[in-house]
Symmetry: C2
Subunit: 608 residues, 2 copies
């Protein structure tokens, strides 16, 4: 075991050197976990760094992403990166960012927002058991501080109940957080009681005793039917007296690098031959047949949430890689249609929206095509996970149903009124808001081939089917629903307000005002060309949305005229007061976004 | 005990009648908990419905807010509302919304987004023990489905560790969620193991046995040093055979109201004399002295996060009602200055952002002035709690530090780039983004008297002190930093980009272009008058922000010109690519928001 202890010291030395080169970073948080990772790398991890997409590769997630210097030191030891690259830590253009991102071999997802690695690992472990059916293992290095995050307990519950014995959480209990001691210090029994109560096998060890570490991993592998958590008592900054187990040493390079390296026994140059992945079948060939989209008869009334659910089921028929995840609202969101048709690819995450999104992030790592669905309002519960998924470059489809005041009597707690703002302000996101069933069907299917984070907003109530099933709806497009050479004003709407806009246009026509109506179903990206044409033709734009006036459709349209030499006159209608309970029609009136409000705004604008 | 059983039936009947009148709602979820609430109301709750602000009142939170018909039936039984009002359930203008809001006597906070009531109750219980020092009790009715939410476990951990024996969670284990069985069904032992592991006393009972319920409450009150969870096996729709313990009966009126009422034994008209609150001292007189704001010397460099922390400490000296809550990052956010000066009013919530916000919401119920602080990025973890706090009409001050790419090498996981969008799109919110230390001091202090949700964005790095300590900074104002009659273009910035804007203006001046510079520290509301004047004078506006281009400063400025007859030419600069690690200066360059980018955009605009 001496070589493993030596490897641990090497990882410490290299972590210290990386942080010294960067002038910042978290060497002490790396040093506590170095022995744990040394044993894992040399004796348990199965990974082909030359074939990072190998289906049999294990997965290693640094849930405590700030221990990135340790991860990068491991990559050096595995010969996956050079020592020269190690010293580019935290430099511009370097792959070795302050917190890990998937630019690097062996990194599946970005971490650094604590409490996310274990939920994502749970998603990967679910993929291994229920989708891939490959015996790869999922190892997650956790911090002790992050055990305060509720999302960790969503993961303990989900993984424990699912009996994911391919998941091993390694908790680095170094007792010190950013600003002082954690709640439980070195009381690993406190953690073991809690985690054990959630159905996990737990092992408490000295995280600097190579033998104990080795036995703990072996015990984890020998444990069938439930996941294992290894609770390792460690010392932050282990091996360098000036920082070891001391407060105030978080997140900064060691005071004297040369001295520290000397104290750690100097540099070492060991290279580890990491075990090969399990032989695994190539990814099962994607089973595709031509997609038979659900179609809806124009003139009938169908809720877009229903079309979404029915299309998902059809998509599941056509593609064997589509999976759907629910937050215990599948009756309402209509993902139950998919659940009924494809129970093997449906994942019930119960009311745990963070785990819901995280599971999907884990599954897309393995190439699955996840659709996540819950009420738009409750997606705000998981927004940090979506934010980090964007940083990971994850391909994730998110549906928020029951958007807007138009849900009616359930009241504001159930109304998504901030979702468009939230999903627009994400890196590389797509935001779609269909108004009718056929449009929803096309857009739902289109998401499957979209990269990045895509968001589809659906409506609770039945709405008229406007479009024929043959119509197409490109991302970034729009539909001009009313148009004449005499148009004096343009109304831009999406989703439920499209119908208010059409009614308003009728009333305006009666009053002698010709109004153009645009269905801007693609809120990001927007159809700038059509909007500019409308501005050129009418000089006046009214936007109307079932959303707070900030950050949504109206702001997207305003943004489309940034740089325009002659921006149009503008009126922006959004929800103008806190809703209570009321009928859908009363809600639209109260919010100032019904047909009358639109007609009034358009009339006032036309008179300018 | 027969009268209590009768009262339980009355609550069921009235819940059924309310939902019938509304044509929607959750009667079956109410019926399961009716006996639990009957015993609570008649024998344990201490509450003066005529004096809802009585400091000795107990607090009752329906964490399962969809059981609102039960709550409203209780208010009828307590004579706090009339039977006539009960039947306005879910009507427009009624106080009896689909989910409870604080319009009603006895309702402290809005619920309906599951998993929030217990964390908020934990905040109230903390206030009772550590701030008010009054022995009111906090009763929280929880659903079993919501135990899947991580936020519940943040609360179990916080309350258990704090030993809050004034907190009692009553869990209505009716085994059925919205779309079918919960994970653990009627296995109350599974819940008891988990909750017990977090240091709570647990009691498992038959939730329809009045004696068992009564004994459980008595046992909870007799339990010292730790909170109690009562795990009650119940039957959803209890008492009406056509719905009792059946799937598919969630969230809808009973099929036949008259038949159901008859089956429940018909209407009853009992009125309960709820016990008086504990005699409690009037709220301790607010101890105020004149505020001695921290001041900073113009020309020196001080981080706005530092000014925030120092001002909080000074504010704590001046006002005895200010409390500060941290998510284990007080070293970085600088709330440690307050912690050192006022440890009795500082609450360490560890890395549990949902509990962090919820605790503050609970404390402001009792009139305390909470400031919540963590990294801006990690506030996205708690956004649903902030959203619901807005629905509650809560007064909450939130600080997000380490905003933007300018933090430098830590990378995107730590950068708040969506916070302005998130906080603008909230009901009745205020969004502030100071650039210098004196401005930060003034704004931090101003928040104390602000109602609604207010957000203050702070910056990691040191920035020059621009303003004298005497300057004032009204909410909704701005500062014109450069101005001349010859201005050809206006640059609007806030926070870190103010300095880029000033440098850009210098470069533009060298190139013969006079640029106005506006520090728009109040992002919501914005200073429309000053912006309009700038547009009238210069006709051209460049906005620049350290935030995604969507939903932030640029959109706020665009919005200020909605309705304007001659909107200005516009250029909008925001973070244009996913950042990695780099120095702050490199980050600003990479994001396209540094002085050169501003000068280029202004030059191009001026040439139009």
């Amino acid at each position: 075991m001496d070589d493993l202890a030596e490897l641990g010291q090497q990882l410490r030395v290299d972590a210290v050197r990386a942080a010294a080169a960067a002038g910042s970073g978290h060497p002490t948080s790396s040093m506590s976990a170095a022995d744990l990772m040394a044993v894992l790398l040399a004796r348990y991890l199965r990974y082909d760094f030359d074939t990072t997409q190998h289906p049999g590769n294990d997965h290693l997630i640094f849930s405590k992403g700030h221990a990135s210097p340790l991860l990068y030191a491991m990559l050096v030891a595995a010969d996956a990166i050079s020592d020269e690259e190690l010293l580019t830590f935290r430099e511009a253009e370097s792959r070795l960012e302050g917190h890990p991102t998937p630019q690097l071999p062996g990194v599946d997802v970005a971490t650094g927002s604590l409490g996310q690695g274990l939920p994502i690992g749970t998603g990967l472990a679910l993929a291994g058991r229920r989708l891939d059916e490959i015996d790869y293992r999922v190892w997650v290095l956790c911090g002790d501080s992050e055990l305060a995050e509720g999302s960790m307990w969503e993961a303990f519950e989900h993984a424990g109940h699912a009996g994911l014995d391919n998941l091993i959480a390694v908790v680095d209990v170094n007792r010190l957080g950013q600003r002082g001691p954690t709640r439980h210090g070195w009381d690993t029994a406190a953690y073991a009681r809690r985690i054990g109560a959630f159905g996990w096998h737990t092992v408490e060890i000295d995280g600097h005793d190579i033998d104990e570490i080795d036995r703990a991993y072996a015990e984890a592998l020998a444990t069938a039917g439930r996941p294992t958590a290894i609770l390792a008592r460690t010392r932050k900054g282990r091996g360098v007296e000036s920082v070891e187990d001391q407060e105030g040493k978080h997140g900064k390079p060691l005071p004297d690098t040369d001295e520290a390296v000397a104290e750690l026994g100097g540099r070492r140059y060991a290279r580890v031959r990491v075990a090969d992945p399990l032989p695994a079948p190539e990814r099962m060939p994607l089973d595709t047949t031509s997609l038979k989209l659900s179609t809806y008869e124009p003139g009938t009334e169908v809720a877009t949430r229903t079309a979404f659910g029915e299309t998902l089921a059809a998509l599941g028929d056509a593609r064997s890689d589509v999976v759907v995840l629910d937050g215990e609202v599948s009756d309402s969101t209509r993902t139950r249609y998919f659940a009924q048709a494809h129970p093997d690819r449906f994942f019930q995450c119960y009311i745990a929206e963070q785990q819901l999104v995280a599971a999907a992030v884990g599954m897309q790592v393995r190439g699955w095509i996840p659709y996540v669905s819950t009420f738009a309002a409750f997606l705000s519960r998981a927004h940090d996970f979506v934010r980090m998924a964007a940083v990971s470059g994850a391909d994730l489809r998110v549906n928020g149903s029951h958007a807007g005041v138009s849900i009616g009597p359930d009241g504001p707690s159930q109304m998504g009124l901030e979702d468009l703002a939230a999903y627009r302000a994400l890196w590389r996101s797509t935001v779609l808001y269909p108004c009718d069933a056929n449009q929803t069907a096309h857009l739902t299917a289109a998401l499957a081939d979209l990269s990045g984070i895509s968001y589809l907003r659906t409506t609770r109530g039945d709405t008229p089917v406007l479009y024929s099933p043959e119509e197409t709806f490109p991302i970034g497009g729009s539909k001009v629903l009313r148009s004449s050479p005499d148009d004096q004003v343009t109304i831009v709407a999406a989703g439920i307000t499209v119908f208010e806009a059409l009614t308003a246009a009728d009333r305006l026509a009666d009053a002698g005002i010709a109004a153009r109506v645009i269905d801007l179903y693609s809120v990001k990206p927007v159809d700038t060309a059509t909007l500019h044409q409308a501005a050129a033709d009418t000089g006046r734009i009214v936007t109307v949305e079932d959303h707070w006036p900030q950050g949504g459709l109206g702001d997207a349209v305003l943004d489309a005229f940034v740089g325009a030499v002659e921006p149009p006159l503008f009126a922006k209608l959004g929800v103008l007061a806190l809703p209570g309970s009321a009928t859908p029609a009363e809600q639209l009136w109260h919010a100032g976004i019904d047909a009358d409000a639109v007609a009034d705004a358009a009339t006032a604008l036309a008179a300018q």
